[in-house]
């Protein structure tokens, strides 16, 4: 099933996928064991003439076992998740490129700081739905929304963050492979929700410089 | 389907007695027992629990707005009438005391007149509370604080208005009980007074918390 995962091109995507796989195998084993037991019980203990069901109200040892084992597994899983979660959500590395993305019904407004590297100045450069970022650089995205809640979803980077109106949310990623990746909106945002999408262009250093020269206003 | 044919009718026990299963050692043979808390009292308690959660939702919202605001009340908004409402709080609390005395009178089977007196006092105090609140609202609206003036006005009118509606409901209920108490054709059980009293107590007891939260 997991071969359906979109190709991962981010630095932290691997960690997410590893967790995904770990849970997949754990739950897979649990599913197989439980289903197999169920089928075995259903066949072995189907009603047969002359056989009476076992009269038992339970078994304390078993009860404790199947309470403690899932507890250990679940708590273990949550501890395994904490560091990845913190890495993605709480501790962003310093930015090497910054871009502002403002969601609105039904477009992504992308603002680049321009040559001076600051927002709110005259050389800011704005375009709809296309994000160009350099490969292997930490990119900070300042996520905003103009109207309703949208969700900034980059399947190939295992990244999703709601854009909440009235809030300024910081998202970061580092893409490791040049290419063109789809950027859909993942939170219902009105009748045009479906089809609200943009593109993330991860450019090689040369391409990125070329694109900057071609599009950014001169100093 | 169970097999009818192979089964005998209910028979004498075959084994020795097995340990009872299913919790503790219930009395044997089981005895009927009158409920400790009557149906109506339990229901009113449950209703109050639900009401508390309703107010919890509103208060939860209020907390977010109040604590997140850089300035509360926000600039250019009228201040709330702390002193007048403080006096009003005392009035509502006094009505709670009157209600309590009425409940005691009905429980001790004192003469009907005492009950009617305390109930009347409680109801009047409740009405005074509502009138003062209403008057203050009119003044606040005059100063420009309305439902649509940002979260400050919105939370104020919603939270205090919901409480006001509850006081109104309680006063109406109390009016019905009072009418019954005054007409001597009706029997008046202690429970009738009690139920109304419990609800009244809830409405009164909720107010100081709201006052402290919203006004202070």
């Amino acid at each position: 099933m997991l071969s359906w995962l979109p190709e991962d091109v981010s630095t932290f995507g691997g960690e997410i996928d590893r967790l995904f796989y770990a849970i997949y195998y754990i739950t897979g084993v649990a599913l197989v064991v439980v289903t197999a037991l169920m089928i075995i019980f259903l066949i072995a203990y189907r009603r047969r003439e002359g056989r009476r069901a076992t009269y038992t109200h339970g078994n304390t040892a078993l009860e404790i076992t199947w309470t403690v084992i899932p507890a250990i597994v679940f708590i273990g899983l949550s501890f395994a998740s904490v560091s990845t979660w913190g890495k993605i959500k709480a501790h962003a590395p310093p930015p090497e490129a910054v871009v502002q993305v403002t969601a609105k019904q039904f477009n992504w407004e992308v603002v680049y700081p321009g040559p001076d590297g600051k927002f709110g100045t005259e050389d800011d450069f704005q375009v709809d739905n296309d994000i160009h970022v350099p490969v292997k650089k930490v990119v900070h995205v300042q996520l905003k929304s103009k109207d309703v809640i949208h969700s900034f979803f980059l399947p190939n980077l295992r990244l999703k963050q709601d854009a909440v109106p009235g809030k300024d949310i910081l998202v970061w990623f580092e893409a490791v492979k040049p290419g063109k990746y789809e950027l859909p909106c993942a939170e219902l945002c009105g009748f045009g929700h479906s089809g609200m999408k943009g593109w993330l262009y991860v450019d090689s250093p040369e391409d990125y410089a070329k694109w900057q020269q071609a599009t950014w206003p001169a100093k | 389907m169970p097999r009818e044919a192979t089964l005998r009718k209910y028979s004498e026990p075959v084994g020795t007695a097995v340990p009872a299963f299913g919790g503790g050692d219930p009395p044997f043979p089981p005895k009927a027992r009158a409920p400790v808390v009557s149906n109506a009292r339990l229901a009113i308690l449950m209703f109050i629990a639900a009401e508390l959660m309703f107010f919890a939702g509103l208060i939860g919202a209020f907390i977010v707005f109040k604590l997140a605001a850089p300035l509360w009340p926000p600039a250019f908004q009228p201040r709330l009438p702390v002193e007048v409402t403080g006096v009003n709080t005392a009035i509502l609390l006094a009505s709670g005391v009157a209600m309590h005395l009425a409940m005691r009178a009905s429980k001790r089977r004192e003469p009907r007149a005492a009950l009617v007196r305390w109930l009347t006092i409680a109801a009047l105090l409740g009405i005074v509370f509502l009138l003062v609140q209403g008057y203050e609202w009119v003044r606040l609206i005059g100063y420009g604080l309305t439902l649509s003036s940002g979260v400050y006005g919105g939370t104020f009118y919603t939270l205090i208005g919901c409480h006001g509606a509850h006081v109104l409901g309680a006063v109406t209920w109390l009016g019905l009980v009072l009418a019954r108490a005054r007409s001597h054709r009706h029997e008046l059980s202690a429970e009738t007074v009690d139920l109304c009293g419990i609800y009244w107590t809830f409405v009164v007891a909720l107010w100081p918390a709201l006052y402290a939260l919203v006004y202070l």
Binding site: M1, L5, I16, T27, T35, R46, R47, R52, T54, H57, E63, W66, I75, L77, S78, S81, W85, I88, K89, A90, D147, S151, K160, V164, P165, G166, G190, F191, H193, S194, G195 | M1, P2, R8, Y10, S11, E12, P13, V14, G15, A17, A20, F21, G22, G23, P29, P30, P35, N39, L42, A50, M53, F54, A56, G57, L58, L147, V151, G154, T158
Partner: protein
Amino acid sequence: MTESATAHAAHAEAHHELGFVRKYLFSTDHKMIGRQFLFLGLFMLIIGGLLAMMMRWELAWPETNIPLMGWVPEPYMYGGILPPQTYNAFFTMHATIMIFFVVMPIMVGGFGNFLIPLMIGAGDMAFPKLNMLSFWVGLVSGIVMLSSFFVPGGPAAGGWTSYAPLSAQASFTGVEWGQHLWIISLIILGISSLMGSINYITTVVNMRAPGMTYFRMPLTIWSLFITAILLLLALPVLTAALAMLLFDRMFGTSFFLPAGGGEPLLWQHLFWFFGHPEVYVLVLPAMGVTSDILSTLSRKPIFGYHAMAFSMIAIAFLSWVVWGHHMFVSGMNPLLGTAFMMSTMVIAIPSAIKTFNWLGTLWGGSIRFTAPMLFALGFVSNFVIGGLSGIFMAATPVDIFIHDTYYIVAHFHYVVAGIIFALFAAVYYWFPKMFGKKMSEPLGKIHFILTYIFFNLTFFPMHILGVGGHMRRIYNPTQYEFLQPLQGINHFITISAFILGVSQLFFLYNFIASLAKKRDAERNPWHANSLEWSAESPPPHGNYETTPVVYRGAYEYSSPEVAEDWLPQNRQVSGGVARAH
């Protein structure tokens, strides 16, 4: 004793002479009210199901004519083509109807009403009139909800979660009155549920028959009792949030509108504070009836009765501290995210306990594969999958990827649509008691086999869609390049869903044909222990000729005390006296 019995009989007689209106419409009899809720729920199930079918068509063959739907006027459909606005309205109403008007009315309203007094040995609910009112208020709420299909702009289109600010201002969705009615309907439904849950709690606490201690109650009663407590405390918070939302829309407040200083995340907090306990409101009764049916039809005491009861209590306790797991990517404090992940992992434990105990119940049994048993087993099997897939989203980093994708859709359909299996099991199981008639077994088995196969073929592939990144609530998946390889799966799901829908005709026919039959059910067709089976089928007004006396728990199957493999709760065995110290 005899006096009260004759009084009872006279009482019952008086009620038998009631006219049609008092008997079938404004009845205060909990059994009639239960049936009314059941019919309401089944009717709504048809509507909710049809909405799902149209959505599935749209997802598989986007923007093509849906067969048979050409009559719908513009702008709702264009010659059978669904515009995105209508699509959004459909999934909003599908979820709202299925949750609030199918599962809740049938499991809580229908079986709750029907079973609670019968199973605890009471004559009726504590407040019969309140009970009647609860149904009628609930019906009004349903009518208000359905009427939103006919107002200009169509029904609510902001998703069943109605996230603000999308839902807080008409211009964002273009829906004016539809959303108003949605809010008003749910506020009314809250009142109905409040009356119901007060009634249930009071009845269970105060009206149990002599000897029916808390830990002799069948697990169905435990589950409904806990459900009532959850409803009582959770729904008012939704009502508060809905009131604020309505004020935002109608009176110009700005609780959830950032333009006026409001907080969109506040809506999510309040909504999910209600929403997560609500999930357990839906699933606990299903777990309860499944436990009873599994035990009865494998002729074995339920494995670990106390563990089962306490795990439900634990679920109820923990359900108040896990709501944030719906909001991992919403922009809330990441540390809160960690806390909510921990509590979510903890609440998974009682669910695991229940599953293992169900397996333990099957072990060593003498299993009868009747229709209710098959559906109960189907519920367990689906719940296992739904429970396990839930662990993926509990892990916050994984949730970042699968949140708002079809993985979530697959997960909650395995749980919530899985509940429909328990619902069918309950209908097949208690039908004889409810109507005095038996449903056809062969038709029930065909219904089960088709439903089980096509349920899995419909919902399991949704996991794959989710892993592939397929967003939920999108109208046209072919607009996305990365989803195009997945479109074949969408076709497959849609075809399975249609067959799943058509399979339900077996149930519909069976249900209606059985209703039309003559009475043919005996008192205790399943040889079950709980009290309701000692009453007539269907029980008369007042239920029991004399108040039953309870001597033991509900799960004494295959007990060595007696030769039969069942031992009703109210049957006094002479050897039992030895236990009285």
